[in-house]
Amino acid sequence: MTPLAKLLEAALFASARPVPTEELRGLDPESSPAAIQAALEELREHYDVDGHGVELIEIGGGWQILTRAEYTEAIERAQLASRPHRLSAAALESLAIIAYRQPIGRLEVEEIRGVNVGSVLKSLHERGLIDVVGRAEGLGRPLLYGTTPLFLEHFGLRHLEELPRADELAVALRVQSPAVVAEQAPMDEPVAAVAASSGNG
């Protein structure tokens, strides 16, 4: 392997989480992005062709070395590692809504799911799958949630765009999202409109 590929391998081994591309570039400021990319390809190919128990994948906005799925059973049987628990249906539903509608407030998630989601959001937040990304305007300035890089990692996604687009789904999405982002709202927008749409949208 080239020295750069070895350096990248060391850095990826030293992290339990995907390593963002910028951080990989920071490893050797003299290497061009193209060189980094080539070294990543070299490493990936080495793992695939040479036959390793691990593989290199692009995930969660970065790169990560993961064990190959075929060894999971043996590793679990030997009790050397165990798979994380599956998320509950309630957690998955809330995550799906947040992933597509972010930034989104609790009330809107509840409106779509038809149930109270306070404790579900709390647990998703504690697990680091969602985070507070801002506050809506209007009464009480409710918190707005979005998904985290860990969410992408958990579902093996490179980025959010990898999820099927709304129009690819069988049912069309509601045209307009009622959540108003603090950062995006135009200065002169009357607040009454915001309050009305978030109240009973």
């Binding site: 081994f13 030293a14 992290s15 339990a16 989480r17 990560q64 070395i65 993961l66 064990t67 190959r68 799925a69 999971t72 590793i75 590692a81 798979r83 994380p84 599956r86 998320l87 249906a89 309630a90 998955l92 539903e93 995550l95 799906a96 809504i97 597509y100 409106e111 779509i112 799911r113 038809g114 149930v115 109270n116 305007e137 209007g138 009464l139 300035r141 990692e153 958990h154 579902f155 093996g156 996604l157 999820l163 099927p164 709304a166 789904l169 069988a170 049912v171 069309a172 999405l173 509601r174 603090a182 950062e183 709202a185 200065m187 607040v191 009454a192 309050a195 009305a196 109240g199 009973n200």
Partner: protein, 249 residues
């Protein structure tokens, strides 16, 4: 539902066990409703509300879900729609199908379930791979430098300005009350359950006219001796119970 399911007996007193919904096969009232629509093979754009509402009420009784406010609220909503459909219509006036909002929510919910399927599949694939677990302890790196820019600070100023300048003012649109409709719904829900809370009849999305209709309906029925309304302390949830004494009389 198979015959194996024992009829649910509500607990004599005390709060309902909170795990009921967790154990249920349904993740919420919309999930149950969609399942019914699929089972009955009806058109989602033309839901026979009377039939579905009846099925819904029967099912939540069988599953013991009538102790969960969210299911009860949906039952109340279905009955409300049924009542609205029964109202005589003026041919010249524009008529909004009272089912429209429910259909929109069902479609939206259905789409979310498709996303859940995708997430589940991807999550399952990822679960079958392990990441590096053992990392030798490294010295704690010094605090990362702070990234700050004047434009960010000024953007915050803009946000603050916006919020301080925009107090919550609402437009008020008058809407006729529907007290008889509310009474019909309350009666139907009381049929289902001996005692309930005001919040079971209403939800976050209830409009003021619906809240007022329900409250007036409750007061009317209390006057007629059909139910008792009780609020243990100021701002506590309003409790409603069937007036069994007058029923017996």
């Amino acid at each position: 539902m198979s015959d194996a399911v024992a009829p649910y007996t509500p607990p004599a007193d005390g709060p309902p066990p909170s795990f009921i919904v967790e154990l249920s096969a349904f993740s919420g009232p919309l999930d149950l409703l969609l399942a019914l629509i699929r089972e009955e093979q009806v058109d989602i754009y033309d839901i026979p509300i009377a039939r579905i509402a009846q099925q819904f009420v029967a099912r939540i009784r069988t599953l013991g879900l009538n102790e969960a406010a969210e299911y009860l609220e949906m039952a109340a909503r279905l009955l409300r729609i049924k009542a609205q459909l029964l109202l005589p219509r003026n041919e010249e006036e524009q008529w909004d199908d009272p089912r429209a909002e429910l259909v929109r929510r069902l479609l939206e919910y259905q789409q979310m379930r498709e996303i859940v399927d995708v997430l589940e599949k991807r999550g399952e694939e990822r679960r079958n791979q392990f990441s590096r677990a053992w990392l030798p302890s490294q010295p704690v790196p010094p605090q990362a430098p702070l990234a700050l820019s004047l434009s960010e600070l000024l953007a915050s100023v803009d946000r603050i300005l916006r919020v301080t300048r925009q107090p919550g003012v609402h437009d008020v649109v008058a809407r006729a009350l529907d007290v008889p409709g509310a009474i019909t719904i309350i009666r139907a829900v009381l049929e289902l359950r001996e005692r309930l809370r005001l919040t079971d009849l209403l939800n976050n999305g209830s409009e003021p006219w619906q809240v007022l209709s329900t409250v007036l309906g409750l007061l009317e029925m209390a006057k007629l001796g059909e139910l008792r309304v009780n609020q243990p302390k100021p701002f506590a949830d309003v409790e409603i119970s069937r007036d069994t004494a007058s029923e017996a009389a």
